[in-house]
C-alpha cells in the first residue's frame, strides 16, 4: 500500500464547504431560542454613573435584560490571563479584573455593559437602543509608547504597567557592546492588526433544566480549554454540566482562542431564563471586540564587528495589552517573543526587556505567529540595516552568523534540534534569481521606478508548548495534546483529537497519518474534534501545534492499537507476539507467514468467539474492544525555519508599492500534504504582506477605532499579490516520530520584514513604518529625490 503521507490527498472537508453544507455556529437554531444583543460602551474610558433599563424592559419582545450587577451578584468570574509573568524585580504581573459585563468602569469602546435578550433579533436591537447608560467620560490612554505616562486606568496598577520582564543578561550584553566596532540601532513599530476571521464570532447557549446541563455552541479554536476556563474561573457550571461545542469554524488566527464575554454571559443567562440564546457578532462588533494583534514599540540594537560578526543584541519593547490581559495576552509578548528575537543567528549575548502596558483599546492577544512575527521583524530589520551600514551583502552577512552545527543552542532559551539555514538561503536565492536583481533594478529605473529587494531568514518555535520547557521558564501551563483512536467492530476508524480545525484541514492530514499507521483506507477514517462530549480533554489549535503535538498523539495512539493487534493476532494464530509484524494493515507471523488483517483483528476484539468459537482471541490481561488513547507532551518545541525574498517596485510619483516577486523557501520538516501546506503558506503570506503594506488598526486620541470597517481597514485582496514562488528544504525534526515541524504561521512571521526590507531598500535605507502606505512612501521618495539632488 502506497504511503499517503507526503501526497496531495484531496481535502475531505472541501465537499462540505464548497457545497454550502458546512455547519457553523450561526447555522445552529434551537427550538424556542431567544436573541441577544450586547449594549456596549461608546467610550474608551468612563465610569458608569447610572444604568437604566426600565424603558428597554417595556420594549416589545424583551425576555430579559441583564447587567454587570446581576453577573457580579451571581459571582460569575471574569476573563483571565493564562500565563503568569514575573517582572525583572521579581514582582508578579498585575492584572485587573475583567468582568464579562462591566459594572463600574468601561475600558475600551465595545466593552459590554448589558445584554438584552428578546424574542427576535430586531426586537433585541430595538430594546438595546433604549437602555440608558449615564457615563462619566474619563481621559483615555491610547498610545502604546506613552501609556506609562497616562492616567492610571486600573486602580492600583501603577504606570499602567502589567509587568516589566527581562530575558537575558544585561551585564553580558554590556560587555559585548563595549567590544563592538559598531552598533546598529533601530526604532520600529509593530503595527496593530485586527484578525478578521471570515466568520464573525457567535455563540448559541442552551440549558436543559432536567439534566441541569448548559450546552454552548461557540466559535472557538479550543472548546475544551474554553470549558475549563468557564468552569474553573468563570464559575458558570461545573465541567460535567457544561458542554462546549465548536462546530465548523471559519478561521481564527488566534482571535478565537479566548473565551469571550459573550460566551460566559450567554451560557449564564440561558440558565437564568431557562431558554436558548443566540448571539452572532456583526462585523463592526468583530472589529471592536475581537482580540487584536501585535502593537509593539521597540528600540533594538545590534553590536557587530567590522567584518560583520554579531556580538550582542538588545531589545527594549513596549507591548500594548489593550484594556485587559487575556488568555495568551501576557505570554505572547514574552515567551513567544523574547527567545526568538535573536533570530537564526549566533549572538553570544542578548537580552529582551518587555514592558507590557494597559491602554483603553481592545485587548491584544495571540494573532497568527503570536510574538514570533514581532521578534522576526525586530531582528531582521536590524540585520538588514547592519548590512547597509557595513556594506556587506545582505545574504552574506546572514550566512556569516548562521549556526553551522545542530542541535544549535540559541542564546536565550531554545535548543534547536535540526535545521540547515545555509541550504535554505542558497535555495531561496536561486529561486528568487537573487543574482539577476541588479539588472531588474536598472530596468525599473529606466521606467522611472524604484526597485528594492528584501531578505528575511527566520526560525520560530512552534508546536507549543512542551510542559518541561515551559515550566523551566517559570510560566505555568504546558500544552500537551490528546488523541483517541477507536475501531468499529467492522473495521472503520474514528480518531478523536483535542486539536481543532478552523481551516487547517485536519480531517485530511490527520486521516492520512492514521491511514498510514493503521493500513486502513482513508475513506474509512473519520476525524472528530470540537466537542467536549466527544473525545478526551485537549488543548486546541494555535501556535502551529496541531500536527507536531496533536498529530503525534494520534501516531502514538495508533501504535498502541498495533501493539494490541499483535498480541491478539499472536493468540489467534498461536504464535509469539514478538514474531508478529505489522505492515500495510496486516499482522503477519514471520515464521508461518499466516496473517490477519487489522479489520479481522478489530472484529475479534469486539466479538470474541464469533470467528473462533473454540477460545477467546483475547490474550490474558487484554480487555475486549479496540480503542487506545494517548496524551502526548513533546520534549521540545519544533523549529521551522527558512529564507524569504521579496522584490518591490515603487512609483515615486504616487508612492504605490507593487510587490513584484515573493519567494518563500521554508523548512517545515516532513510534509504530510503538500497541497494543504501550500494553502497554509499562502494564507500566512497574505496576512504578513497585509501587515507590511495594508493593514493597520488605528485609534484616535479619545480611543475611537478609526478603522472600524472594511471601508477603512485595508484587508488585502488577491490582486494585491504576485504569484507566490514557494519551495522547501527539509531537515526532519528529531524530537517527534513524524519529523514534522509546523507550517501554519511561517508566512505571517517572515513576510513583514521581507517586504519592508525590500521597500526600505528601494527607498535608499529610509525607515518607513508598517504599513508602507502610498503617502508614507511618496514622502520618502520626495526626500530621496532631495538628497540625491544634493549629492549630485
Amino acid at each position: 500500500m502506497a504511503s499517503l503521507v507526503g501526497s496531495r490527498v484531496e481535502r475531505k472537508e472541501d465537499k462540505r464547504f464548497l457545497t454550502g453544507k458546512g455547519r457553523y455556529t450561526a447555522d445552529i437554531n434551537l427550538a424556542n431560542q431567544t436573541y441577544a444583543i450586547f449594549v456596549r460602551s461608546p467610550h474608551a474610558r468612563a465610569s458608569i454613573k447610572k444604568l437604566n433599563i426600565d424603558k428597554a424592559l417595556k420594549s416589545s419582545g424583551v425576555v430579559s435584560i441583564l447587567t454587570g450587577k446581576e453577573i457580579a451578584d451571581d459571582k460569575i468570574g471574569g476573563l483571565i490571563a493564562g500565563w503568569a509573568i514575573r517582572s525583572e524585580d521579581g514582582t508578579e504581573m498585575k492584572c485587573p479584573g475583567n468582568p464579562p459585563l462591566a459594572k463600574d468602569n468601561v475600558n475600551f469602546v465595545g466593552d459590554p455593559v448589558a445584554v438584552v435578550i428578546a424574542e427576535s433579533l430586531a426586537e433585541a436591537k430595538e430594546a438595546a437602543e433604549k437602555v440608558q447608560v449615564d457615563y462619566k467620560v474619563l481621559k483615555a490612554v491610547t498610545s502604546t509608547a506613552d501609556a506609562m505616562n497616562g492616567d492610571t486606568i486600573h486602580e492600583g496598577i501603577d504606570k499602567n504597567l502589567c509587568f516589566d520582564w527581562l530575558l537575558g543578561d544585561r551585564q553580558k550584553v554590556k560587555e559585548a557592546f563595549d567590544k563592538a566596532d559598531k552598533v546598529i540601532s533601530i526604532d520600529i513599530i509593530n503595527n496593530r492588526l485586527i484578525p478578521n476571521a471570515m466568520e464573525p464570532r457567535a455563540c448559541v447557549a442552551d440549558y436543559n433544566a432536567a439534566s441541569e446541563e448548559i450546552t454552548l455552541y461557540t466559535t472557538s479554536q479550543n472548546p475544551h480549554l474554553s470549558r475549563l476556563i468557564m468552569s474553573a474561573f468563570g464559575n458558570v457550571a461545573p465541567e460535567h454540566k457544561l458542554r462546549v461545542v465548536a462546530p465548523d469554524v471559519g478561521g481564527g488566527f488566534g482571535s478565537k482562542i479566548n473565551v469571550y464575554n459573550e460566551d460566559i454571559v450567554c451560557s449564564w443567562a440561558a440558565k437564568k431564563i431557562n431558554r436558548a440564546i443566540k448571539w452572532v457578532a456583526e462585523r463592526s462588533e468583530s472589529f471592536l471586540t475581537d482580540i487584536h494583534g501585535r502593537d509593539h514599540v521597540t528600540h533594538a540594537e545590534l553590536a557587530v564587528t567590522k567584518d560583520g560578526k554579531f556580538l550582542g543584541f538588545k531589545n527594549e519593547t513596549i507591548a500594548n495589552l489593550g484594556a485587559y490581559a487575556r488568555v495568551f495576552g501576557t505570554v505572547t509578548p514574552t515567551y513567544l517573543f523574547g527567545p526568538c528575537a535573536t533570530g537564526v543567528y549566533e549572538i553570544p549575548a542578548a537580552y529582551t526587556n518587555v514592558k507590557a502596558v494597559y491602554t483603553n483599546t481592545a485587548p491584544v492577544d495571540a494573532y497568527r505567529g503570536a510574538g514570533r512575527p514581532e521578534a522576526t521583524y525586530t531582528i531582521e530589520r536590524l540585520v538588514e540595516k547592519a548590512s547597509m551600514e557595513l556594506g556587506i551583502d545582505k545574504t552574506e552577512l546572514r550566512i556569516k552568523n548562521f549556526p553551522t552545527a545542530f542541535p544549535f543552542k540559541q542564546t536565550l532559551v531554545h535548543t534547536v534540534d535540526s535545521g540547515d539555514y545555509v541550504a535554505g538561503m542558497e535555495k531561496a536565492k536561486q529561486m528568487a534569481d537573487y543574482k539577476g536583481f541588479e539588472a531588474r533594478r536598472k530596468e525599473s529605473e529606466a521606467k522611472g521606478k524604484l526597485r528594492g529587494i528584501g531578505v528575511t531568514s527566520y526560525f520560530e518555535a512552534c508546536g507549543i508548548a512542551p510542559s518541561a520547557a515551559v515550566m523551566s521558564l517559570g510560566c505555568g501551563v504546558g500544552l500537551w495534546e490528546s488523541a483517541e483512536v477507536r475501531f468499529n467492530p467492522t473495521g472503520q476508524v474514528t480518531v478523536y483529537t483535542g486539536s481543532h480545525s478552523h481551516g487547517q484541514s485536519h480531517q485530511t492530514t490527520f486521516a492520512q497519518i492514521a491511514a498510514d499507521e493503521l493500513g486502513v483506507p482513508i475513506e474509512n477514517i473519520d476525524i472528530v474534534h470540537g466537542d467536549t462530549d466527544k473525545g478526551t480533554f485537549g488543548m486546541g489549535t494555535y501556535g502551529s501545534r496541531s500536527l507536531a503535538v496533536g498529530g503525534i498523539a494520534i501516531v502514538n495512539a495508533c501504535k498502541k492499537i498495533v501493539e494490541k493487534g499483535k498480541r491478539v493476532t499472536a493468540k489467534m494464530l498461536e504464535a509469539n507476539p514478538e514474531d508478529v509484524e505489522f505492515k500495510d494493515g496486516e499482522f503477519i507471523v514471520s515464521k508461518s507467514n499466516k496473517k490477519k488483517t487489522i479489520g479481522e483483528v478489530a472484529f475479534a476484539c469486539y466479538l470474541p468467539g464469533v470467528r473462533d468459537e473454540m477460545k477467546s482471541p483475547l490474550p490474558e490481561g487484554d480487555e475486549p474492544g479496540l480503542k487506545e488513547t494517548s496524551f502526548y507532551d513533546p520534549s521540545n518545541f519544533s523549529f521551522p525555519a527558512g529564507t524569504h525574498i521579496a522584490e518591490v517596485e515603487i512609483d515615486p510619483e504616487t508612492g504605490h508599492v507593487k510587490l513584484e516577486k515573493y519567494t518563500a523557501c521554508d523548512d517545515f520538516g516532513r510534509i504530510i500534504n503538500p497541497m494543504v501546506v501550500e494553502g497554509q503558506v499562502h494564507g500566512g503570506l497574505a496576512q504578513g504582506i497585509g501587515q507590511a503594506l495594508y493593514e493597520n488598526a488605528e485609534y484616535d486620541e479619545t480611543g475611537q477605532l478609526m478603522t472600524g470597517s472594511y471601508m477603512d481597514y485595508t484587508m488585502p485582496r488577491a490582486d494585491n499579490f504576485p504569484e507566490f514562488n514557494i519551495g522547501y528544504t527539509c531537515t526532519h525534526a528529531t524530537t517527534n516520530p513524524l519529523g514534522v515541524k509546523g507550517c501554519g504561521e511561517a508566512g505571517a512571521i517572515a513576510a513583514p520584514p521581507t517586504v519592508m526590507n525590500a521597500v526600505i531598500d528601494a527607498l535608499g535605507g529610509q525607515e518607513v513604518t508598517m504599513p508602507a502606505t502610498a503617502e508614507k512612501v511618496w514622502k520618502a521618495c520626495k526626500n530621496l529625490k532631495k538628497s540625491n539632488a544634493k549629492a549630485a
Binding site: S284, E653, T654, G655, H656, Y694, E698, M706, T707, Y710, M711, D712, Y713, T714, M715, T773, A774, E775, W778
Partner: protein, 261 residues
C-alpha cells in the same frame, strides 16, 4: 434596520408620485441598503425603479452614448458599443468597487448620490454629460452641487445620462486601498474645442480643474502640466491621504491620463 414599505414602480410617473421626504429610490441599493443597515439612514418607503423599462439600456449614436439610469456598472464595463465609443468609460465602470457591487450598483444611483469619491461624476464632467430626468435635461456642470448634493428636486428621477463622445479620453484612479473608492480620480477628455480635466475624490465635490484644462487645451501633452503646484487648501484630508498628497496625486493622475490617451 427599521421596517419600511417596499414599492415597485412600473414607470417614472408612478415612481415620482410615490416619492416623499421620507423615501428613497431603490436602484442597486449598494448605497441605500448599507446605510439603512448601519442606522445612518431610515426611510419609510423604498421605491424600486429597476423594473422601469425605460431606465435601462445603452444607445450609441455618432456623437453620444446614452445610458439608462438603472444600467448596472457591469453592463457598462462589458458593453462592446461603449468599449468602442468611449473605452475609458467602460474601464471606469470596471474599476468600481468589487464584482458584487458592479453586479448591482447602477450609474443613475451613483450620479444621484454624488459621493465625493465616486467615479462616475468625473465622467459626467469630463464628457460634457447631460442628465435626463423625468422633468428636464440638466448639464453635468450644473448638476453636481456639493457633497452628496445635486440639482435633483424631491421625487425627480434620473432616466438616462448622455455622454458626449470625445476624441480621446482616459480615467486614472488612485484608489483608497481599503474601499477602492477614489482617493483621487482624474478623467481627462479631449474634445474638439477644449480639454476637460475632471477631478473626483480630492475635494468635497467633483470639479473641472480649470488650470490644467487650459494648459492641456494649449498643448495636449503631460509635460504641459508636469510640476504644477495645486492649491491644497480645499482638498480633503483623512487617514488615507493628506491634502498635500491629494494635491500631488491630482497632477500625477492627470499626467497619467494624458499619457494614456
Amino acid at each position: 434596520m427599521k421596517d419600511f414599505n417596499y414599492h415597485s414602480a412600473k414607470d417614472s410617473k408612478e415612481a415620482s408620485k410615490l416619492a416623499s421626504s421620507s423615501s428613497a429610490f431603490l436602484a442597486g441599493g449598494m448605497t441605500t441598503i448599507p446605510s439603512m443597515k448601519l442606522g445612518l439612514a431610515t426611510y419609510k418607503d423604498l421605491i424600486d425603479i429597476k423594473n422601469i423599462k425605460k431606465l435601462s439600456g445603452i444607445k450609441v449614436s455618432g456623437k453620444s452614448v446614452i445610458i439608462g439610469a438603472a444600467t448596472k456598472h457591469v453592463e457598462v464595463s462589458n458593453s462592446k458599443d461603449i468599449k468602442k465609443a468611449i473605452p475609458s468609460l467602460s474601464s471606469l465602470a470596471e474599476g468600481i468597487g468589487d464584482p458584487q457591487v458592479r453586479n448591482r450598483g447602477t450609474i443613475g444611483g451613483s450620479v444621484a448620490n454624488n459621493d465625493p469619491s465616486a467615479d462616475y461624476p468625473s465622467a459626467c464632467i469630463a464628457l460634457n454629460a447631460t442628465i435626463h430626468t423625468n422633468e428636464r435635461k440638466i448639464e453635468a456642470a450644473k448638476f453636481f452641487k456639493g457633497m452628496f448634493e445635486t440639482a435633483l428636486k424631491k421625487g425627480e428621477l434620473i432616466e438616462a445620462i448622455e455622454f458626449q463622445i470625445p476624441e480621446k479620453s482616459s480615467y486614472q484612479k488612485h484608489p483608497n486601498p481599503a474601499s477602492r473608492y477614489a482617493i483621487v480620480g482624474v478623467y481627462v477628455a479631449k474634445h474638439k474645442g477644449d480639454v476637460n480635466v475632471a477631478v473626483t475624490g480630492a475635494k468635497s465635490c467633483v470639479y473641472n480643474d480649470k488650470d490644467m484644462s487650459k494648459a492641456l487645451s494649449g498643448n495636449f501633452s503631460s509635460s504641459s502640466i508636469d510640476g504644477m503646484n495645486l492649491d491644497s487648501s480645499e482638498m480633503n484630508s483623512d487617514m488615507h491621504a493628506s491634502a498635500d498628497f491629494r494635491a500631488s496625486l491630482v497632477v500625477t493622475q492627470a499626467k497619467k491620463a494624458v499619457d494614456a490617451c
